[in-house]
Amino acid sequence: MTAAVYAARKQLKTLLVSQDLGGQPLKTAGVENYMGYQLIEGPDLMHKFEEQVKQFPLDVKIGQTVTSLAQIKNGFEVKTKEGETYQGMVAIVATGKRPRLLNVPGEDKFMGKGVTWCAICDGPLFSGQKVAVIGGGNSALEATDDMVKIAEQVYLVSITQLTGDQVLIDKVKSASNLTMFLGHEVVAITGKNLVAGIKIRNLKSKQEKELEVGGVFVEIGLIPNSGLVKGLVGMNRLDEIEVNCANETNIPGLFAAGDVTTVPEKQIVVAAGEGAKAALQAHRYLQRGGQ
């Protein structure tokens, strides 16, 4: 969104196409470190971004999923799942990241039927029930902190020791309805029409255990949405798009910004700044006649 605003203010004919406006912050509760707001909910902050985008003469296509990006003569062409095709002299990829899947039996079957990646969205649906939170980082700890307040019992399952911030670990470990299974992996998610349980395995002893749960919150990290440009641009081993400090990829005219890139810090304020830089660089590129 920031890239779009900067491009529009440089009077570039700009198209912003995306499945949604907001991305990861839409699933974030309290944001305390975006300057100008002491504490604001992720969705509210994104709504403010959206309102600002609407002030500019931009072509905004929301609810469309870009499925391919290709180089064409004098620029780039994107195609969407909805059957649309758009062309531009430059392209800025700012597609962010998506949740990593467990890839265990039952995950697919029970997606939306007890398996969720959005504690902030779906947490209340499981109040009074037993739930499992999978993961050991900050997202898992935050989901645990939310759920111990409303669930009957929370099982925190992590393949490693907890890797999140100490302040969050301290916050959750005193909960009386929390049981941790560190050094355990999820083997399967079970149930009939809805989730009824998970099977976990101790990584050392290989002993398996079944836990009765009505909800499974998967919080095991994020994957960059870079499939669109795989094979076209340079990527690191995590499949993040390689960019220099000017947000240039190895393809002239193709820029990238935010969490989908190799920028080391994945934060809203950083992503917004990267978007601004990418748009300004794109403008310079066009001023130089596309070189």
Binding site: G22, K27, N193
Partner: protein
């Protein structure tokens, strides 16, 4: 004829907020059911949609899971 619109949602779900914002912006009256607090509404939602994700929108018995602006416009006759 005004269609009967029900939105099954939780208090914190951003897509639920977006759905309701869309309905408010288009002055469409709807019943909002908090499935986090209301167990019978939760059961009703699971029965109608076969799943546990929110939002679920029921327009005269037609069910949609998630926020789908195109579907909402079509169902509500907002497409010109």
């Amino acid at each position: 004829m005004t269609k009967k619109v029900k939105v099954y949602s939780t208090a914190t779900c951003p897509w639920c907020k977006r759905t309701k914002q869309f309905l408010d912006d288009n002055k469409v009256p709807y019943e909002s059911l908090d499935v986090g607090k209301d167990k019978s509404a939760r059961d009703e939602m699971v029965k109608k949609s076969g799943q546990l994700g929110v939002p679920v929108v029921d327009i005269d018995g037609e069910i949609k899971v998630g926020f789908d602006e195109g579907w909402l416009k079509q169902q509500l006759g907002l497409v010109k």
